[in-house]
Amino acid sequence: MSAVSGSGVDVEVPERGNFRGMSDLRLVARQVGFEQLSFWLNPIGALMTIAFSVVFLILLGATAGTTTVKSYGGIKLLDYYVAGFCGYGVMAACFTILAITLVNRREMGLLKRVRLSPLPTWMLMGAIIVNAMIVAALGVVLLLVVGRLGYGVNGPAHWGPFVVTVLVAMVCYSALGVGISTLVPNADAAGPMVSLTFFILVALSGLWFPIAPGSGLATFANFFPIRHLIDALVGSFGQRGAPYWPWRDLGVMLIWGAAGIAVGLRRWSWSPRRG
């Protein structure tokens, strides 16, 4: 509050506006730190989020041998799995865990409590999403290391498109995570609803088994964003030297991300629903 002197009387005038420059950015970084702390203080949850995709890679990688995938230009099946599970890891952290976390916080009244504190909404949501992105990035790095050390997979041939795809996927799936969290009526329903959606989308993506382009299933799966994520990531593992930018896949993901934001904005609630 600033003091204004008029006619010899001090009048307290409330400060207006909600952005405080660098001090706010430091507050975001601090909040991200506490989000990370909260995530790692629950080691089982943290391990499950990151370890699932690694375990799947190890199990499926052990059976892949020297098989190649014709529908992806003869890429090795091991490369396909490493690229695919990178997508799986991003989706697990930014979609599934984010959505379940938001529903649980809403239903516990935690969102309401933060809403009543001076922490602005954009800082809270920014910190939650950046936290999910850090977890997703850790998962991707771990998968690339396991692929390299365990199966001799060199990693992406096109690092630029790979990194951009991962970043766009983080944004897209975080937005979808926020969106679906608003459709879940209570904490009990969060796990089943979000996980079921996740596993259906993954099954349609062709991650467990490559889907031939042009098939009916591929046409149907192309409607959903996970198929485009897998395609874009697998493409970045393709032939070196050949120009590669998955613009269409990135575009589809961004459209889905925009849909997630639209649903989130329309249905967002700070109070428990307990429906």
């Binding site: 509050m1 307290e12 409330p14 400060e15 207006r16 506006g17 909600n18 507050l27 601090r30 909040q31 506490f34 702390l37 909260s38 203080l41 629950n42 516990m108 009244g109 935690l110 309401k112 409590r113 809403r115 009543l116 504190s117 001076p118 922490l119 602005p120 700070w270």
Partner: protein, 306 residues
């Protein structure tokens, strides 16, 4: 300038009326209790004052600003503390971690160690929240409400679900905060809580205020009939008393009157003249609970609020 000023506040959700024509003021440094049954509109009123909900009508000022004005909302939230009706604390943080995190949201927070001391959790400071008892979690919840060093503290049913010692500890904490100059607005449906804590109170019923004043005078409590009770002197029968009394057992007699001064004068004059002792002489006013039940039992409670 009052800490809170409410004039003709109204809130509706479609056809459902949650609050209608509510007016009251809370002065700075005062403990103000909003009393009422479930669904009377207490929480809705408080949430509007906090800026969490918008109102449908009327005028509201919290610490001199309109809580619905987004431009001053952050300023306002820097200066208020809120303790919600239900516990809302992350289970994996330690007591110190969760208080430190929230302290960082405010420009002028209380030192975390001071808050831990105030809420009596010094020995549990490094324990995780999930390992605290219900009462300890509730105290931590209050700690989160005061860590920002608020000018105005909202307590929404702060002792619901606590055992008697937990309630007493929370009351002591509220007393200390009020003693240090913090304005407190609390909602409750416990009469003893109002009598123990509040300087002023208002009863919300049927989504509107039906009585307000100090706990001692609310609803005409200080003006109505009183009960004068004493032990009948040995060798005296009730018919010998200067005022008609009713034996209520165990040698006690009660006199119900709206003219307590005259009755006491007659009674004590008679006792002094006759050399009688009126053991256990007491004047009992109608209880706050009686007043409250009288206010909230009669009439149509209207549509439920939240």
């Amino acid at each position: 300038m009052p800490a809170v000023s409410v004039e003709h506040l109204a809130k509706s959700y479609g056809e459902t009326v949650a609050v209608r024509d509510v007016s009251f003021e809370v002065q700075r440094g005062e403990v103000f209790a909003l009393l009422g049954p479930n669904g009377a509109g207490k929480t809705t009123t408080v949430e509007i004052l906090e800026g969490f909900r918008t109102r449908s009508g009327g005028r509201v000022e919290t610490l001199g600003v309109d809580p619905a004005d987004r431009a001053t909302q952050r300023w306002l939230r820097n200066r208020i503390g809120v303790v919600l009706q239900e516990l809302a604390i992350e289970p994996y943080y330690s007591v110190r971690q969760v208080l430190t995190r929230n302290a960082g949201y405010y420009p002028n927070p209380r030192p975390v160690d001071e808050v831990i001391e105030l809420i009596g959790l010094a020995e549990k400071a490094d324990d995780r929240v999930k390992h605290l008892s219900g009462g300890q979690q509730r105290r931590l919840d209050v700690g989160l409400g005061i860590v920002g060093n608020p000018d105005l503290l909202f307590l929404d049913e702060p002792t619901t679900g606590l055992d008697p010692s937990g309630r007493r500890e929370t009351w002591d904490l509220i007393h200390r905060l009020a003693g240090a100059g913090t304005t407190v607005l609390l909602t409750t449906h416990y009469m003893d809580e109002v009598e123990a804590l509040a300087d002023q109170a208002a009863v919300l019923f049927g989504q509107e205020i039906v009585a307000s004043g100090t706990p001692a005078s609310i609803g005409g409590r200080d003006l109505g009939a009183v009960t004068i009770r004493f032990r009948l002197p040995d060798g005296v029968t009730p018919s010998e008393l200067p005022v008609a009394g009713v034996p209520v057992g165990d040698g006690l007699v009660e006199i119900h009157t709206e003219d307590e001064l005259r009755v006491l004068h007659d009674l004590t004059g008679w006792a002094l003249a006759g050399g009688y002792a009126l053991a256990g002489l007491s004047v009992l006013r109608v209880s706050l609970e009686d007043i409250y039940l009288g206010l909230t039992r009669s009439g149509d409670p209207g549509e439920p609020g939240t």
